[in-house]
Structure formats: structure tokens, C-alpha cells
């Protein structure tokens, strides 16, 4: 586990130097398994029974249940959770991602689900590698449309079968994926805004260096 190698954070994180990679970035969330006195809700067991092999782990932390699912089977899992009577997750509250660069499957894509019938929540998590496409759940929850677009925009995770996978918050022609950990907090974007001439010169210099 990542938490096993604690390292002092080196004083308060200097925000201005945000793009300097911190020493030994964490390689993944802890995803602690549920403690012995907690039994998983029935719908998780139901999911494990109906779709054997799809669930690779169940985690519990500060009252939240998380199901970790194989990336290839996310659409099946989503359909099951939407339909199954004991689950009935009719609302997709959120789709988001986290970036853990040292890991091979660097992205966690997280679906926060809620059921208005049973009033319970669950998070579904899949691990996705860079350039690996996962299935879109837009047909299960139309709400996922924009949320998946935002994940695509910010992290570059592609969703197969998404009806309209475009950038949503950043301009159409933007390069790079801002929420990735290796994307600098400050950079050419601001320089471009404040001083376009210098930015052009800088880019020319970079291009020439590339050619040489």
C-alpha cells in the first residue's frame, strides 16, 4: 500500500511550485477493505453473484462503500445496478476520475450512484490505463453524458459508445489534459494570455530545437 512508505511532505506545499513533482507521488488510493464488523449491502453480493468476476474488490471508508470493477465490464455492471431490484440505482450523481501516474493503470474512473427508491449510495471504481477506452454508461444514465465528457476533457479517458465525446470545459482545440498530475499548474496558457509575443518566441525556439 502506498501509505506504508510515509514521507514528510516537506513543509507546507508551496503552491507556486505546484508543477514541481513531489517526491515519490502516491501510486494509488488505499481502498481499505471493509472492517470485520461491517457487512456489505445486499446489492453488492447480488452483483458478485450475477456477474462473477466483474468485481475485483469491495472497499469501505468513513461510511462509503466502493465497488472496484474490471474496466471491460463496467457497462454490464452499470446495467445490472440500474436494473436489479435490490440496487435500483436510478441516479448517476457523478462520474469523475483520479490520476495516479506511477501506476500502470493510471486512472481511476469513479461513478457515484444513488438510488431514489432505496435511498442508498455506492461508488463504482474502475482502473483504466492511458489510451485504454472504456465503455460509456450514457445509455444507462443519460446524466453521464456531460460527466463523461468532462472526464475525457480533463483526463483524456476515452469512452466508447459515447454519443458526443467532445471537450466540454476547455476550448475545442486545447492541447493536453489539465487534471492529469503531470499537467503543470502554471504554464504557457497564462504566458500566452499575458504576453503572446514572448510565448510565440518561446514556441519558435522549442520548434527549432525539435528540428535540430
Amino acid at each position: 500500500m502506498a501509505a506504508a512508505t510515509p514521507k514528510p511532505p516537506g513543509g507546507p506545499a508551496a503552491p507556486a511550485a505546484g508543477h514541481v513533482p513531489k517526491a515519490a507521488p502516491p501510486s494509488g488510493p488505499p481502498d481499505p477493505p471493509p472492517p470485520g464488523d461491517k457487512t456489505a449491502p445486499a446489492f453488492i453480493a447480488g452483483l458478485q453473484q450475477t456477474l462473477p468476476g466483474a468485481v475485483t474488490g469491495v472497499s469501505y471508508w468513513v461510511g462509503d462503500w466502493t465497488i472496484i470493477v474490471v474496466a471491460e465490464r463496467i457497462v454490464e455492471v452499470a446495467e445490472h445496478l440500474r436494473r436489479a431490484a435490490g440496487a435500483a440505482f436510478d441516479m448517476c450523481s457523478d462520474v469523475t476520475a483520479t490520476d495516479w501516474p506511477p501506476r500502470a493503470e493510471r486512472f481511476d474512473v469513479i461513478y457515484c450512484l444513488y438510488s431514489t427508491r432505496h435511498r442508498h449510495r455506492v461508488r463504482v471504481k474502475v482502473k483504466v490505463a492511458d489510451h485504454q477506452a472504456i465503455g460509456s454508461v450514457t445509455h444507462v444514465w443519460p446524466a453521464a453524458n456531460w460527466l463523461e465528457r468532462e472526464v475525457f476533457d480533463m483526463f483524456g479517458v476515452t469512452f466508447e459508445g459515447h454519443p458526443d465525446l467532445r471537450r466540454i470545459l476547455m476550448p475545442e482545440d486545447w492541447q493536453g489534459f489539465p487534471q492529469r498530475k503531470d499537467y503543470p499548474l502554471e504554464g504557457p496558457g497564462e504566458l500566452l494570455m499575458e504576453n503572446p509575443i514572448d510565448w510565440l518566441k518561446l514556441r519558435q525556439a522549442i520548434d527549432e530545437a525539435d528540428i535540430e
Binding site: 502506498a2 501509505a3 510515509p6 514521507k7 511532505p9 507546507p12 506545499a13 503552491p15 505546484g18 513531489k22 502516491p26 488510493p29 488505499p30 481499505p32 471508508w61 468513513v62 461510511g63 462509503d64 466502493t66 436510478d90 441516479m91 448517476c92 450523481s93 457523478d94 469523475t96 483520479t98 490520476d99 469513479i110 457515484c112 431514489t116 435511498r119 449510495r121 461508488r123 444514465w141 443519460p142 446524466a143 453521464a144 453524458n145 456531460w146 460527466l147 480533463m154 471537450r167 466540454i168 470545459l169 476547455m170 476550448p171 489539465p178 487534471q179 499537467y183 499548474l185
Partner: protein, 366 residues
Amino acid sequence: MFDTDELVLNMGPQHPSTHGVLRVVLRLDGEKVVDADVVIGYLHRGIEKLSENRSWTQIILLTDRMDYVAAATSNVGYCETVEKLMQLEVPRRARYVRTILCELQRIASHCLWVGTHAMDIGAMTVFLYAFRERELILDLFEDFCGARLTYNSMRIGGLPLDIPPGWDKKVLEFCRIMDSKLDEYEALLTHNRIWLERTRGIGVIDGEDAAGLGLCGPALRGSGIARDVRKDEPYAAYDELEFDIPLGAAGDTYDRYLVRMEEFRQSLRIIRQATEGIPEGPIVGKVPRLIKPAAGETYHAIESPKGELGFFIVSDGKSTNPYRFRVRPPSFCNLQGLRRLVRGHLVADVVALIGSLDIVLGEVDR
């Protein structure tokens, strides 16, 4: 020779009724909307990215800048998420004051909504009436924390300051004033025939579709789904207070209007109970000097005036800033429903529907 063209109308990002810098590209057949492409991102400031590079306490003031007409709600939502992640106990007094602030903020936000919504449909007097009352709430907030818009009014584990002496009296006085003013708004709108014609049957969406589309808050309750985070997953002091969840039936603009108008009254009811029942005691719990939650992640939602405001926060347990900070903005998810709602309606209904969804672009784009 007689083929007809669709007219592409670019509404926004500079348009009086898109409530900020929203852009809607409408494809029109005459005045009828065939399709709409909602373009956002003009107010994107990268608050999520920025927050991952700020300390846990510094983020509170970034949350002010999201839903800037209901900043206190965002403060509460963020602080509660961190408290959940750290398993901190918040004193009862602080939870009561948080409840009062949240509900005052809900009234302020709904005031802005009813004003602009009515203005979009052409009734301009309600706009000024509603702003008159919003001013009273801003005065209350000024008394509490010194600011009128971006309050920075919360701390992890409690409140920055206790309420000033006599503040609770002023809050009760405000409730008394607001009661009669609500009747004034309703007299101008609720039974007005033009208002009924403009809102009834406009943007109808049934409960199942609304939930699937991710609509939340009054937009979802207008379709008859009893989903309110305050009841379902109580936070602050809501489990100790009595209030009802108003529901719509038809799921049209008029029902969403009625739901919000009733929410005004329920908020006043909550404020009255909470103000009269504020317990004595400390205002901050036992908070470590350096806020550094253990490694882990959590999602916590509260009911903002717009709907379910969720925070998904990942801590790596090592640094003094969150590893991942994600906001689930209610306006963003509600705005997504716009395309589904406007299809087949007229241009004039588009502005009515934007108003009926009650969006704040600061929150949509973050």
C-alpha cells in the same frame, strides 16, 4: 426551390437571459427549437486543479467562487466533506448556525432565482422586489462574517466566529418580513394568467427521466421525486428540525416554480426552529492544528439551493493538500437537462427554461 432552411441562432455567451456566460446554439424551424447545443466553459477557472495545489483550509475560499450566489452552502459542503474524511465531531451549536446560514442562503439564492426567472418571462417588478429582500439577507451575512458575497464563513470543524449578539433577533425579524413579501411575489405571479400560460406545460419531464438525466434539487422535486439530501442523508442539524419537502406533479416549469416558492416557506420554518433552538456550547470541535486527513477518499453531498452539491475528495495522507478535489456541481447536471427540455418549444421558452433550471455559471464551469 421550396426547401426550407433551419436557422442557427447563437444565444450567448453574451445574452441578457443566459444568466452569465452560457452559450446555447439553437437550431430553429421558424421559432421552434429543433435542437440545442449547450456550450459551457467560458467561466472555467480550474478550481479543481487549483484546489489540488492549495492547503485544506485555503480551499474554503475557493468554494466561495463556485456558486457565488450561495457561497455559504459551498463552504458548508466542503467543510463537512473534510470533517467526514477526518471523522471530526462538530459541536451542536456550530451545526445549528450552519443550518441557519444554509437556509438563509437558500432564500437568498431563491430570491435571485425568482427575480431573474420572472424577469426572463417579462415580469420585471418581481425582480426588484426579490432583490430588496435579498439585500436583507446579505446584511445578515455581513453582520455574521463581514462579507456580502464571498463569505469564507466556515472552518473545518466548526465556525470561524460565534454569531454576533442580537443576530438571532435580526434573523427572526427577517423571517417575519419575508413571510409577507412572499405573498407579494405570489400575488404577482402564481395566479397570473400570462404567467400560467408561459410556464404550464413548458419543459415537461417525468420523474424517471429527470432522475436519469441527473436533474437534482427543485428541478427533480418538481417532477415528483422526493429526493432531498437534507432528508435522505441529513447533515448539519437537519435531522433535529422539522420541515416538509414540497413536490410537484406535472414536472413542468410551473411546478418547479411552485416547489421553489414553497421551499422559501419551508426554509423560513427551518430558520425559525433553528434560531430559537440554538444550543449553547463551543463553536469549533477538536481540530488538529495541521489538517491532514488520513489516506482515503470520500463523497459527501449536501442540498444546495440548486440541488445536490457533492464533493469527492481524495487524500493521500502525506501532503497538506487534497490529492484530488472534485465538485459535483448541481447546476452542471441540471444544465445538462436543458437540451432535452427545450426541444420542440419556442425561443421564448428557452429563456424560461434556463431560468427554471436555476443555474449559476460559476458553478457549472468552476
